[in-house]
């Protein structure tokens, strides 16, 4: 091949190869040079598409919750946390090999993992000594005798501005005069005293270890030789008890509270939306018929999840990972309409038309707070749940 021809051949091929990168994206010039019309968007509130709704109570008891709440300062409501600990051992680890008998008890330290609180200054939680034998099924009022001044053994001061941290109280050994008679077993209660309404919420053993109780002791490491050591116990049972809230209006929907309540909603969106459109956002609008109840300053987090089947109260939830749940915060005392994001549920239903179209609204951490919302149902005129949906009707590529 001659050199000139060779250059033409190679040059032509090289230019062809080098030009292979595509760049076709350009600003649309609508409507004249927009390809096939515009993407339409409909944002509307649908009335009457909630076909049925109801609430059931009793899913999670406070002793199974991951948080426990202490509420005080409000004569109309209150909550106390109670922890039962296993017995401390007679011996404590001297080192990694040997143990030694406890010869002297110095003090205790109670560590509480704070997860939420009222932002009032000078918040303090009072620690009470309870007989270990007290009935673990006791309610708020039956525990009154154990939350008198005479039972106070310490105070956990929560620094202002601290909302989630570990807070502690030192309790002297003599605060438990019957420690030995009680077989070295302890039960503690938490309360908030004073006249300022306040609350504090702590982790329970269902979240992690719960409220750890440490013991500072001297032990006999060897005959005539004592050393200081500490050991600790985690609660073997913890819960909180609260005052009863007022009875709900008949027919209302309830979410939250203790034990926890859930609301079931059957949704029947028009086929033109469910079958043919793309839902880009959907909210279940729930209208409170009473101000959200609970500790002043507390907040509920509501989530919605789809049901796997319709078996009434025991219908299985298709559980969503917490990271993908869209939470709706509701402040205690609010009467604002509660928009619960159900976009993901709608997408799930659109992807699986055979699924039962029922969703459940619950609190994110059930029975972890006494807070509760009560909303209108399909049976309460003017307060019926609504669906606000934003969707794209079928897009036509050929008009």
């Amino acid at each position: 091949m001659r050199s000139g021809t060779f250059l033409v051949v190679i040059g032509g091929l090289a230019m062809g190869v080098l030009a292979c990168e595509e760049s076709t994206t350009a600003p649309g010039v609508c409507p004249d040079f927009c390809p096939t019309g515009e993407i339409q968007l409909v944002d509307t509130v649908l009335v009457g598409v909630v076909e049925a709704d109801t609430s059931f109570t009793g899913y999670v008891e406070p002793d199974g919750a991951i948080w426990m709440q202490v509420v005080g300062g409000d004569p109309g409501m209150g909550a106390r946390s109670v922890m039962w600990y296993p017995r401390f051992r007679d011996t404590v680890q001297v080192d990694s090999i040997s143990t030694g008998p406890v010869v002297e008890l110095d003090s205790f330290r109670l560590d509480l993992v704070l997860v939420d609180r009222t932002s009032v200054p000078g918040l303090a939680v009072t620690v009470h000594r309870l007989p270990p034998t007290v009935d673990r099924e006791s309610d708020f009022s039956s525990l009154d005798p154990f939350f008198e001044d005479s039972t106070v053994v310490g105070t956990v001061v929560i620094p202002d501005g601290v909302f989630d941290d570990t807070v502690s109280a030192i309790i002297p050994a003599d605060a438990f005069p019957t420690f030995q008679e009680d077989s070295q077993q302890v039960a503690l209660g938490l309360s908030i005293r004073g006249s300022t309404p306040a609350f504090a919420t702590f982790e329970t053993r269902d979240a992690n270890l719960g409220a750890l109780l440490q013991r500072f002791v001297k032990i006999e490491a060897s005959p005539g030789d004592t050393v200081e050591r500490l050991d600790f116990v985690a609660p073997e049972f913890d819960t909180f008890v609260d005052t009863d809230l007022t009875a709900p209006v008949a027919g209302s929907l309830i979410v939250g509270g203790t034990p926890s309540s859930r609301t079931f909603v059957r949704v029947l969106l028009p086929p033109s939306i469910m079958d043919s459109s793309d839902i880009v956002r959907a909210h279940l609008l729930m209208i409170p018929i009473e101000p959200a109840m609970g500790a002043p300053g507390d907040t509920l987090q509501l989530v919605a999840e789809p049901m796997g089947a319709d078996f009434g109260p025991k219908s299985p939830i298709i559980a969503s990972h917490d990271s993908v749940l869209v939470k709706t915060s509701v402040g205690v005392g609010t009467l604002d309409t509660i928009p619960v994001d159900i976009s993901a549920i709608m997408a799930f239903w659109q992807g699986d038309p055979e699924q039962v179209r029922i969703l459940v609204v619950r609190t994110r951490f059930e029975a972890a707070s006494m807070a509760e919302v009560r909303m209108g149902s399909t049976r309460t005129l003017g307060f019926q749940p609504l669906i606000r949906v934003t969707y794209v009707p079928p897009f036509s590529f050929v008009q």
Binding site: V9, G16, T24, G28, V29
Partner: protein, 381 residues
């Protein structure tokens, strides 16, 4: 034999999806931007040789000129920019394989054939728009993207007969196939809104028939005529819904004038009745017009024995475009240059063409360059 198999394989590998021609903002309307059934050589001649160059698939009579198996492929890249309604876009670039053919003769007869694939219409675009919508009383910025990739491909089986060295006739069956893969997306400023995306594919089908003659009464002059009839083009979406668009009748004529042994002038004119699809497209706000295309080119030198090694080609072309969003019919001017060179012991030819195009009308203007390279191989001579 091995070379022949390889070349046929290369031709076969050029799937219809890859066979689209240059793109244009005017391709967002109707069935897309009309393709040109031209070769690289004829492209450099402004399309003037479309009726005489057997690499172009406009005149089926040229199928009668094949005596040996011949394979040709073409690659082309468009660099373009446009302005429309105050919107400027530049740096747009697409590469396509708009034409390929396989031709050959039947032994001891004057009958020969040509199988070709070419672009009938290009339907590729990717348009982004930004808008603000009011949702629950709150302004929300959204970004839309509507794109299509594909087009209508013309599969042609042509047969030609050459009763004498001066005359050839031919006829061809055309099968229109291909598809455009559409996608529409909308994303929202707020993550509370799920992005919208819808995809679909529009599959095209249609038929056509063409016939043509080539008459070269003496070595200095030649004439060619062809005509083509098409059925409606049917587009079918994934959901089975269909749309029909009337396709044009096409009438073409050309003249070839030899200006000595090393120079000739060619001209091709074509009329197409795109308005047959007017009623079908009315609902989209698209106006359809009949079109005239006229191209002329001058070639100095040739690749035949004794010719210049690198012939020089010039061409100019004027064309009306069929679709518009209003009553203003867009037009196009092309200015082209090119050359070619044989290699592989004259069994192969590479052709190059560079075309400058400007399009105007309907509230937009578009300019750009179109670079094409083609390789034609005759493995056995």
């Amino acid at each position: 034999m091995t070379t022949r198999i390889v070349l046929v394989g290369v031709l076969a590998m050029l799937s219809p999806a890859a066979l689209h021609a240059q793109n244009s903002i005017y391709g967002t309307r109707g069935i897309g931007f009309p393709g040109r059934p031209t070769s690289v050589r004829s492209l450099a001649l402004g399309g003037g040789a479309d009726m005489f160059d057997r690499g172009a698939s406009l005149n089926p009579a040229l199928a009668g000129t094949f005596r040996q198996v011949t394979v040709s492929v073409m690659s082309a890249t468009t660099f373009r920019q446009f302005t429309a309604n105050g919107v400027d876009a530049s740096g747009l670039r697409e590469t396509r394989f708009p034409m390929a053919f396989l031709g050959g003769g039947f032994r001891r007869s004057n009958l020969s054939y040509q199988l070709s694939v070419s672009t009938y219409a290009e339907r590729t675009f990717d348009a982004q728009t930004t808008d603000t919508v009011i949702l629950s009383g709150v302004p929300m910025q959204v970004q839309d993207q509507v794109s299509a990739d594909g087009g209508v491909v013309d599969l042609r089986a042509a047969f030609g007969y050459t009763p004498s060295a001066k005359f050839a006739i031919g006829a061809a069956y055309h099968r229109l196939v291909g598809s455009s893969r559409f996608s529409a997306t909308r994303t929202f400023e707020s993550v509370e809104f799920q992005p919208f995306q819808e995809d679909d594919a529009l599959r095209y089908s249609g038929n056509g028939f063409s016939a043509g003659v080539l008459w070269m009464p003496n070595p200095t002059v030649g004439f060619a005529f062809s005509g083509r009839l098409n059925s409606s083009l049917t587009g079918e979406l994934d959901d089975q819904s269909t749309v029909d668009v009337g396709l044009p009748v096409s009438l073409s004529g050309g003249a070839w004038i030899g200006l000595g042994t090393q120079m000739h002038l060619t001209t091709t004119a074509r009329w197409r009745s795109w308005s047959r699809g007017r009623d079908d497209l009315a609902s989209t706000g698209t106006r359809a017009f009949d079109t005239w295309e006229v191209g002329s080119g001058l070639e100095i030198g040739s690749l035949v024995e004794g010719g210049l090694r690198f012939p020089i080609r010039f061409g100019v072309r004027y064309a009306q475009l069929p679709y518009s969003p209003n009553d203003d019919q867009p037009t196009e001017w092309n200015f082209a240059v090119g050359t070619g060179a044989p290699f592989a012991a004259n069994r192969a030819v590479i052709d190059l063409a560079l075309q400058r195009f400007t399009r105007e009308g309907a509230g937009a203007s578009e300019q750009g360059w179109y670079f094409a390279v083609g390789i034609t191989v005759t493995p056995i001579q």
